[in-house]
Amino acid sequence: MKKNIRPDGKAKVTGKMKYLTDLSFPHMLYGKILRSPYPHARILSISTDEAQRLPGVQAVITHKDVPALNGFGIVTPDQPVLCKDIVRYVGDAVAAVAADSIEIAARALELIGIQYEPLPVLDCPEKALEETAPLLHPDGNVLHRAGFQKGDIEKEFSQCAKIVEETYQVPRQLHAYMETEGGVIVPEKNGSLTVYVGTQHGFKDQFQLARILGMPAERIRIVSSPMGGSFGGKDELNIQPYGALLALKTGKPVKIHQTRQESMRSSIKRHPMKITMKTGIDREGRLRAHQTRIVADTGAYATLGPAILDFAVEHAAGPYMIQAVDTKGISVFTNNGVSGEFRGFGGNQVTFALEGQIDRLAEAIGMDGIAVRRLNIRSKQDPGPLGQRIVETDGALDVLESAAAVYAEKKRLPLKQDTWKRTGVGMAVTMHGGGLGFGRLDPAGGRLSFKEDGKIEIAFGFEEAGQGILAVIEAITAGQLGCAKEDISIIIGDTSLVPSSGSTTASRGTSMVWHSLQRLKKPFLQKLLARAARKTGIEEKRLSVGPGGIQVNGEYKLSFQELAAGEEPIVVAAQFDFPVSPDPIDSAHFLYTYSGVVAQVEADLLTGRIRVTGLHQTTAAGPVVNEMGYIGQIEGGGVMALGYTLMEDVTMTEGHYAVENFDSYLIPGIVDVPFNLQVRAIESLPAEDHYGPRGVGEIGTVAVAPAIASAIYDAVGLRVSRLPVKPEALLQSIERSVLYES
């Protein structure tokens, strides 16, 4: 089989791809941002005179230079672009400089004099919730509360044979995209602004920047693609406002490309959460009552913190049908780094806790973990986790059975003979909602054109961050229209050229491309074939689109170039919304994907270190559009989650980062991952399903941590409730005498 080569592939493997941080322009200046050295402080004074005087400095900006709204945030603009009186975390920006070189800009930052009065630091949600705690925002330190209740929880608990209560703690994870935030902001001659900076939603950046700059949105062009990775991390604004303000002030292009340390300090991270679950099971193995309390450390500002908590609440009972559910979550402001959108969006955290509960409950009643899951897992017609109707599939059971089979097979493998190593196998399952959820603006759209040069142009407002959206667009467009890939040109990531398609988040891209084509295909082909009929004199119904041009009964008749010659372009566009449940339940999802994971580990009894030796992931997300992209998303997501489980933690002490680069913040290297990752796709959907392929950008990250945790228990009998798993914890759990008196 000929492998499906990505449209952006050749440029990437030859080094020719120009990322936005690779761009340079004539007379370009370099920008740098001065961020607070304190996690919480009052600004007493700001003096920029000395910096202004440094030769080569072209502009120094502070809060006084923000013309309109001094704030950003996708939903609530509560983060100051440039702080005026209070800083709330060590990434808060206070000033920025544009200079002739990076070195001069850096030197200028040192010359900016700021007097601070340090304030008490709220370095955890518990402190922030104390009655005497200083308020970080006018409405207090609670960003958001969310909950879900069904059934009589006390009554159901009273019916249980066993109840397990455990508190799970999960860390602050760094996206660690290889390309740090950056790009160039160019003031155009006509007074407009072009922003060449990666983001996951160009039109949202345009909206936010317009609000900050006091400029009409249409005078701001966002070129937002390609990106060297994002994973949710570049969804919120990062350096754009500073580049834009400096470019407007100096009238010159300004490049900002954050160093890794600057990125670590200012970027959003995955929410650390403390999740307490109390779950009851009856003698037959049925889950009867499930109580969850979530405390999320959302850091200094909101960004999408509320939606992430909502998502965690929704997924707290996962794919299981439980009589009584009582979930309450709270997202709390602190002086830690800002937590925000990250692949998995709150699902990873609760799934680790939930699957941990299932394992513990199964053991408590002496049942097999897979049997308990089988007994309680949702079936096709069951309502979704918030009681809403959802798209019916057999995904949950399918991935469970797949994982069960793989688990049994791995368990049969002979144990490795080594006195100081123990091996184990574990599994976990999950379901994950796609799209933004009910009640949230979630528009999508695309545009299909037949150009004057005979190219079929397909345009979306999506961005390529590596996930392979270009390959998906190419495959779906060619597949739906019947043309060859070579006939297509793809336009994405430029607000001046593309229609609004919504955000490149929430595993929605693939779905939305497919849904767009369903709408665009018919009118487009009608117009195309009508013209072909006119040009060839052949009846329209005998004509069809094929590779390279128009065919008659499968025989090549007219090239696309000939068809286009001397004619106006054909343009069809579609606008619609991401499908939602007919039941009006706020934030509830409608389209879900499912995952079943089996992990194998090897534990070293001398050092306490864990190695994941095998990772098998089954995903049910409808038809596979592009096999290579699909495998890449699942494998890459799995390894990102492996890092989350075993090594990744943006450690903070008293509001300061204890890690600042890849020497102390660790992501998995090639030696840390199983050499042969295994991915299985369950593509089948019910015959009546008309929702097509689902996105798989997030699902690969969700159920890996609990599967590894379960394998660790199998290997050494340690119940993991805190991530990342510390070798120390493992070592402490092992009877010492085993080692010294063999």
């Binding site: 290297g669 070592l731 010294y740 008196e741």
Partner: protein
């Protein structure tokens, strides 16, 4: 130095490159069959050099656990030592290595331990020229580095040992060394004394483990506690001694 610059520490005003003095970057067997390694020998060469592979493979193994291939191509053994807490130091301590310094009055030689304790050159402006591994390496050598990741990772605990045992499991000669993180690598002299001349038995090991933990006195940080480091050091060294039996 570039790492320090990235962390905000400026370069010194003058830099003199010694890179092209080839004699500082070779490995040879000396007349007394010691191994002389030029201080500017890169770590990748230490890892792969035929003489080291033949006469002292454990050093090659140790070099292979430091940094990554690209960094090993540039990083030198001398640099690793002068860093003060380099991962190569414990095994070199166990091998009883010596350092040669180019001083004002000529070449000075001293045990590696001397420098490691001082963390500065024997005199201002002295240049490290050679690392000498005394011959012959006939006992059993052991090196193990534990980090927070499998590869390309700063050490949390590094242990090394050189041991000669007689037929009746009696320890004729032993040198043990530990390091890791910010801990200055050190020989475990008390432990060595405890074991030297003794017959190794299982019963002995538990006591030795406690002694290793105590003497190593490894300190912890936000990533790994002192207790963890000490326990791992003891586990690895004791386990290795057990396997000698």
């Amino acid at each position: 130095m570039q790492m320090q610059r990235e962390q905000g520490i400026a370069f010194p005003p003058h830099l003199i490159s010694l890179e092209r003095i080839r004699e500082l970057a070779d490995i040879e067997e000396t007349v007394d069959r010691s191994i002389r390694i030029g201080a500017l020998t890169d770590l990748e060469t230490c890892r792969t050099h035929s003489l080291i592979k033949r006469k002292c493979p454990v050093l090659g193994k140790a070099a292979g656990t430091i940094a990554s291939p690209a960094v090993r191509n540039r990083g030198t053994l001398g640099g690793n030592i002068l860093y003060g807490v380099g991962d190569a130091i414990p095994i070199l301590l166990a091998l009883d290595a010596r350092l040669s310094w180019f001083c004002e009055g000529g070449i000075q030689s001293e045990p590696l331990a001397g420098f490691v304790d001082r963390k500065e050159a024997p005199e201002e402006g002295a240049i490290l020229t050679d690392i000498i591994i005394p011959s012959p390496v006939k006992g059993r050598c052991f090196f193990h580095k534990v980090g927070r990741r499998e590869a390309f990772i700063p050490s949390v605990v590094t242990v090394a040992m050189y041991v000669e045992v007689t037929g009746s499991n009696t320890v004729k000669m032993i040198r043990m060394a530990v390091g890791g993180g910010v801990n200055t690598p050190m020989r475990l002299k008390e432990c060595e004394e405890m074991v030297s001349g003794k017959q190794l038995t299982d019963g002995f090991m538990s006591g030795l483990a406690s002694r290793i933990k105590k003497e190593s006195a490894l300190i912890g940080d936000v990533f790994a506690s002192a207790d963890y480091r000490r326990t791992v050091a003891a586990n690895l060294l004791v386990r290795e001694l057990q396997s000698v039996l």
